[in-house]
């Protein structure tokens, strides 16, 4: 194959991922946070018969978790 010639800018600065991936990751953390803990809250609702309070608490907790994950994983590197 002829794919072996050197590309003009191979290598580059190295291992820093570009912005697109980070953006999707952040979005998926925020949504996943709400879904996961919302679902757990909903299960607790069904179990304890709390009429939606646990779901609400779960969603808020999940949002907080998602925000923490975004800050921890995608915030300024230490």
């Amino acid at each position: 194959m002829a794919g072996d010639q050197k590309p003009p800018n191979a290598g580059g600065p190295g291992d820093v991922p570009s912005g697109a991936g980070q953006g999707w990751t952040a979005l998926s953390y925020l949504i996943a946070g709400m879904l996961v803990w919302g679902f757990i809250g909903w299960l607790v609702d069904g179990w304890l018969d709390t009429g939606g309070i646990a779901t609400g608490i779960g969603i808020v907790l999940g949002m907080a978790g998602g925000v923490i994950l975004v800050i921890r994983n995608l915030g300024t590197p230490k």
Binding site: A2, G3, P7, D15, P17, G21, I31, A32, I40, G65
Partner: protein, 265 residues
């Protein structure tokens, strides 16, 4: 190829279009209904595979130092994916994934592109099965690469345990697990599928809507024309979506591989 033209030839328009319009008559038992072994969709997928294999084989058969036009196109595509996706996202070790990313990019681009090619006019990716399987391949790839690099335990430890104090870990680990191992393949597949499905539906609505209005009342002819002009405009929009979705699918796969290979968070 024949589904829509049949409908138009009969002079009766089934408007509004429905999911039924995505299931085209069978080819192998010719014209059979509810038989999905070999349909136009199947044909298009194999055609795309054939075109890609032939194109890259032929253009790279006798590589020239000063490339011919075809070789230049093939090298440009490969160079683009390698430099702007693989190396950009993953770093220098991304070069070894460049062949897969190029294949993925070309396949998604070509199968998407069938959506606006006359007489094809539907993308195989508007059926969830094809994007789902492509996403499955990417899913297996990035997990496999991560497990191979870090070892089973360490890979999952990396993937599931974010750098955070222990007392919020119970809150975070389920989110990490969900977003990494469930949302990723799901969103990859659904993003591509939904874009192609919606694009086809949109074109159907405006094309068939033009006929429906014309049939309903001859005075509505100017509106029909407007509707068909919109179809042409939307076809250009479709082209944008086609290229963008092929690019996004590849970039996200590269980003997941990068995440799996990363040393630390």
């Amino acid at each position: 190829m024949f589904g829509q033209s049949n409908v138009l030839a009969q002079g009766e328009v089934n408007f509004p279009p429905s999911v039924e319009d995505f299931y085209l008559p069978s080819i192998a038992p010719w014209g059979a209904h509810n038989n999905y072994w070999f349909t136009k969709i199947t044909f298009m997928v194999w055609l795309a595979v054939g075109i890609l294999i032939l194109f890259f084989l032929l253009t790279y058969r006798k590589p020239q130092l000063v490339p011919t036009k075809k070789q230049w196109i093939a090298e440009s595509i490969y160079g683009f994916v390698r430099n702007n996706i693989a190396v950009d996202m993953i770093g220098h070790q991304g070069v070894r994934f460049a062949p897969y990313f190029t294949t993925l990019f070309c396949f998604v681009l070509l199968t998407n592109f069938f959506a606006i090619v006359p007489f094809f006019q539907i993308s195989p990716n508007s059926h969830i099965a094809f994007p789902a399987f492509l996403a499955l391949i990417s899913y297996v790839l990035f997990n496999w690469v991560g497990i191979k690099k870090h070892g089973f335990g360490k890979y999952f430890k990396h993937a599931l345990i974010p750098p955070a104090p222990w007392y919020i870990l119970p809150l975070l680990i389920p989110i990490e697990a969900f977003s990494t191992f469930l949302v990723r393949p799901f969103s990859l597949a659904v993003r591509l599928f939904a874009n192609m499905f919606a694009g086809h539906m949109l074109l159907l609505v405006f094309t068939l809507g033009g006929f429906a209005m014309l049939n309903a009342n001859a005075l509505l002819a100017p509106v029909s024309v407007l509707s068909w002009v919109m179809t042409v405009a939307l076809t250009f929009l479709e082209f944008l979506v086609i290229v963008l979705q092929a690019y996004v699918f590849t970039v996200l796969t590269a980003s997941y591989v990068q995440g799996a290979l990363a040393e630390e968070h």
